[in-house]
């Protein structure tokens, strides 16, 4: 049996929808078929790792899930009576440890880590978030079955969007009315069809048809340290490919969640229409950037202020941005280009903050109309595309 990768081709949707027919009929009549739903999820997850080349990833997933479950339940139990900071830090570090090992292994070895499997990052985001909310007291208890359901929710298991436990649980417990469910199915259809256009038409056009051509042209023109025309072509083509491929994928995940009566948050909101970098991060890979905002940026800021490490509020946010994006860079992978990508965005957002403050001060003399607006969008778009050129790692091959 060969593995079935999520959303890799249109056939996946047919197979999954057929398996979900009882769930759809059930929701339509106001019932959630819990056991059937879980059964389908388990079969499809097993199928993802079927065959001689993937089974060990499946084993890694099982071990990972058992570990995270024990950790979260252990911490939830502990948190009922105690609230020591070192224990919390230890729990978070333990939760991140498998992902850290997987990400660091390529630095030391050509063999990928045995702990790795498709989707480990996204499961880690979910698990860490639960521990953090237990610490805050926002979550009092995490029933094991509910935690597993949240962690292993089939439509988003491999690459997000990253949902939040309480939000997910609310949707799961409340079966939508027939009207609401029909509206959800309508949105599901729209998401999936738009996703088809994004991933299988535009993503294919940019990624499979155009990218090899511009890659070859850029390689042929290499040998200077300048931005050659083909390299600029590569930059835009890769950026478009990155967006349409991932946004298409995210739309699929949102669409299939809706079919199952879960309103998974969207991941992209016209990112290239952003007028500045800050706005870009509110539109691009939104569930990731909100996760980083809530669990890294805010916490770093709060930590610095509480311990009065830095007095100047502007400096505080600048340091927080640097740490935030540096961690995001390391999360993408321990290579120079992901880390430079992170630092580049931290730099861009800090410069952007300077500019916004300058603009505020000179509001009276600063022109503001649709032309300046358009200019802002054009500049932001190009800065972002350049950051994706760094992200692609292609500069390492060309120079």
């Amino acid at each position: 049996m060969s593995p079935l990768s999520p959303y890799a081709d249109p056939k996946y949707f047919l197979i999954l929808l057929v398996a979900l027919i009882p769930v759809i009929v059930g929701l339509w009549h106001g019932h959630r078929l819990r056991y059937w739903e879980s059964g389908v999820a388990l079969v499809f997850i097993a199928w993802m790792f079927a065959g001689p080349h993937k089974w060990h990833e499946g084993v890694a997933l099982i071990a990972y899930v058992i570990f995270q479950l024990a950790l979260v339940e252990g911490y939830a139990h502990y948190r009922k009576a105690h609230n020591q900071t070192p224990t919390f830090v230890l729990a978070v570090l333990a939760s991140i440890a498998p992902l850290a090992v997987v990400k660091l292994t390529p630095v030391f070895s050509v063999q990928p880590s045995l702990l790795g499997f498709l989707g480990i990052s996204y499961l880690t985001f979910k698990s860490v978030q639960v521990i953090m909310e237990l610490r805050d007291g926002a979550l009092k208890a995490v029933p094991p079955v509910a935690f597993l359901r949240f962690l292993l929710f089939l439509p988003t298991i491999s690459s997000g969007p990253i949902d939040r436990f309480r939000r997910f649980q609310k949707d799961y417990d409340a079966v939508p009315t027939q009207d609401a469910y029909l509206e959800m199915l309508g949105r599901a259809l729209k998401s999936v069809m738009l996703g088809f256009g994004y991933k299988f038409v535009l993503g294919y056009l940019f990624g499979t048809v155009m990218l090899p051509q511009v890659t070859q042209a850029a390689m042929a023109a290499r040998g200077t340290w300048a931005l050659t025309w083909p390299l600029i072509g590569y930059m835009y083509t890769y950026s478009m490919y990155l967006f349409f491929d991932f946004a298409g994928y995210s739309l699929f995940a949102v669409g299939m969640s809706l079919v199952m009566g879960i309103d998974t948050p969207v991941n992209f909101n016209k990112p290239f229409a952003a007028g500045n970098i800050k706005e870009f991060w509110n539109r691009w890979h939104m569930t990731l950037s909100f996760w980083f905002r809530d669990f890294i940026f805010m916490r770093v800021t709060f930590f610095i202020m509480k311990h009065k490490l830095i007095k100047n509020r502007i400096r505080v946010s600048q340091v927080a941005y640097l740490i935030n994006f540096l961690i995001m860079g390391f999360w993408h992978g321990v290579t120079w280009y992901y880390i430079v990508y992170g630092l580049f965005h931290a730099g861009a957002i800090i410069i952007n903050d300077y500019w916004l403050r300058y603009k505020k001060k000179h509001r009276a003399t600063m022109p503001h109309n649709q032309w300046t607006q358009a200019l802002a969008v054009v500049i932001t778009f190009n800065v972002v595309c350049f950051s994706f050129l760094i992200f692609s790692g292609f500069l390492g091959q060309v120079f």
Partner: protein, 417 residues
Amino acid sequence: MKRRVWQLFGPVAIAAGLTLALFLAPLSFKRMSPAAVRSASVAMSPTVLAGARAKNQALAQGAVPFFGSSELSRLDPFHPSALATRYHRNYRPFLIGAPGTQSLTQFINAQTMLPKLRHKKAVFIVSMQWFTRRGVMRPAFDYFYSPLETVTWVLGAKNTVADRYAARRLLCMQAVKKDQTVKSALLQVAAGQKISRPLRLLLEARLQILHNEDGLFSHFTVNPHERELAKSVRQLPATATNDQLDALAAKVGAAHTRNNSFGIDDHFFSSRLGEGRLAKMRGKQRGFDYRFGPEYSDFQLLLTAFARYDVDVQFVIPPINAKWAAYTGLSEAKLHQAVEKLRVQLQGQGFNRVLDLSRDGSRPYFMQDTIHIGWRGWVRVDRTVAPFLAAPRRPVSYHLNPQFYTKSWRDAVVSGN
């Protein structure tokens, strides 16, 4: 509520229905323009080789298929396509082959074309380099894999030695194994069973879809080979005898082989063997042996098909650059045994048109590089091929022998001298 359900899902249902109807409808496509056919006949791209439309339209317009592999892309002024264009021959070559096309690929990708070749002629350049121990290179087969041609073949497969053998061979290929319906059908053919009825219906629907896709989506735009060919044609004099062409070929060859002592094209030499790469090749081919392997039986599939459709085929066995062979340590004795084995297989079954050039590897400017025929080699080919194609078709009598599908033949040594 019903109304709302219809508003949401009606358009998708209609669109899906229309798409399915479009693909399943027996569409007919308008004739390709002569310019498009001309372009396709030198394209040698997977679209052309694995598709059906261009090949079959060209044949219907009287083109002659030239089967081969990498040598077909050596479009120097003496290439068959250049000579046919310049001297307004009564035939237009349609080039079927590219680096990596071997017997099994050629056999499968000829399926829709074969009925149109019935009682006609073809030219087939067979390279000894195909006949390795492992036979067809798997990635190359996958690259040129044509579901359209394969489904066409499997639907017509019978319980014969040849078809069972072909099914078994195809089942070794990754591209075929990934295709569940085709794989199931092949398993039945390999087992000597009839394809079950539901599977047959599924394959027929699939074939219709593939035909429509081929007609709707294969586009033939100007390709670089066309420009190359036009440049080559311009270098030819308005009239020339074969001897005059030979002299000119020697002159052109001499002008292109100045930077090495192997008689290899300068550009090829500097880009592929320059910068110390040549030295690494010394003695590298001492172990090469073309005498055994599945390619002999794969080739028999082609012979079986040519016999079945009564095609008169001129075979050409090109040489290997002798200086190159000596440098790399390729065994001449083993090579000649392999050629002899192939000739036994051909002539033993009545395929008597065999132009064996395998001993001409030391003639100057005969090869364009290491293993690819060029300049004077092409002129030599023309001396045989042009009269063959100009003459009226004569009856052929082939008598096939199934022993060429056996392991004992694949492992047999035929002593050459």
